[in-house]
Amino acid sequence: MIFDLIQNTFDGLAMGASYALLAVGFTLVFGVLRRVNLSYGPAIMIGCYAATWVSLSFHSNVFALLGITILGSVLAGTYVERLCFAPHRQGSAIAAMVASFALWMQFEEAVTLVMPKHLYDFPPMFDGDPLAFGPLSLRAEALVMLSCALAICFALHRMLYRSRFGLAVRAVIDAPLAAQLAGINVPRVLLLVFLLASGIGGLAGWLIASTHTQVTPMLGMWSTLKGLLAMMIGGLGSLPGAVIGGLALGVLEAHSQWFLGPQARDLIAYLLMFVLLAWWPRWMTTQSAS
């Protein structure tokens, strides 16, 4: 029983590491633009599908696919930014959200047109058994993912507080009009932030695909929903919060799945999101991106 609990926690942390990575990218966009990008996951899916296509056609190395995945996600992200976020910079946040959903539909259909199978194999990151700790086991991929999430969180923090670009990003978050008047090219900063987030998303997508050794069109919706949930649990707009939120979501899901089943797992996750939004809105909305 106690081993089950610990093993579940391990599994949860492993899953949570991917949620954390997804949430970091999501949070970066939300924190800076105050916009929800529903196409975040589908753009990652485009990256993963591009890599899968390359892998099927050229049998390339799994680590070479990392570059393809990131490139694909960034290109798809650029398309999303140009069509959904740049035009609505001054306009409604909801319009951007709906537009990003419209592109989600495009991505999903485009992917199934080119690669119609429901499931494709993705090469694994490592061959071999999970690491064993007595009766417990943990997959090495989970450790890689967790360290990536922490490293990216740390690097982003450094970037925000130590670099010229970071200064510009914080200025844009703080007072967009003043940032323009200070000579900061705000549209460019926003685009770069968006692309950075897409790149992080691509890395997350590659890690997830090579851990689960498969890609499906569901990956898009899954990434968006999990990233969104983890971001909210972490307090909407805080980078360390996103990592903690992702891990918390993973552990919560692992335990609720074990005790109550897969449906209850999703139900509890959404319930948490609903409760957080409905009853602590002030806490949720006052956090800044730091």
Partner: protein, 133 residues
């Protein structure tokens, strides 16, 4: 009078038949063209083949009802009674809710959930919603 009696008798003998469940089954094969399937439909009532029905076959995507449907086609009776043949032109692989509209001996509609892949179609078995694990 006799006609009415006959009608009544027919009506009551037909009742148990009407109450019997109509069932459908699908066997599909992907043709050379993408997403076009040759399908054989078997329809039975109370376990017995049901010939002579006018069958129209359509399909819906479960996660986008109403908006994503396939133009229905009329099925033609096959060689064996209760068998009907139709060509389905789907838009993509994956799960479809095949809709059989029956007229003639029965007026009914059957929904069959099938997963279409690059060979043919299998009935959907539902488990966990997410493809992982």
């Amino acid at each position: 009078m006799a006609k009415a009696a006959l009608g009544l008798i027919l009506f009551f003998t037909a009742l148990p038949l009407l109450a019997q469940k109509v069932e459908g089954e699908l066997a599909c094969r992907l043709t050379k063209t993408d997403f076009i399937y040759d399908c054989m439909i078997r329809i039975s009532r109370g376990g017995l083949p049901l010939p002579g029905a006018a069958v129209t076959v359509g399909a819906d995507m479960p996660s986008m009802p109403m908006a994503h449907n396939v133009k229905p086609v009329k099925a033609t009776p096959g060689k064996t009674p209760g068998e009907y043949a139709a060509k389905l032109d789907l838009e993509m692989l994956g799960e479809w809710a095949v809709k059989l509209r029956l007229r003639g001996p029965v007026n009914d509609q059957l929904i069959l959930l099938y997963e279409f892949d690059e060979k043919g179609a299998q009935p959907v078995r539902r488990g966990d919603r997410l493809p992982r694990k």
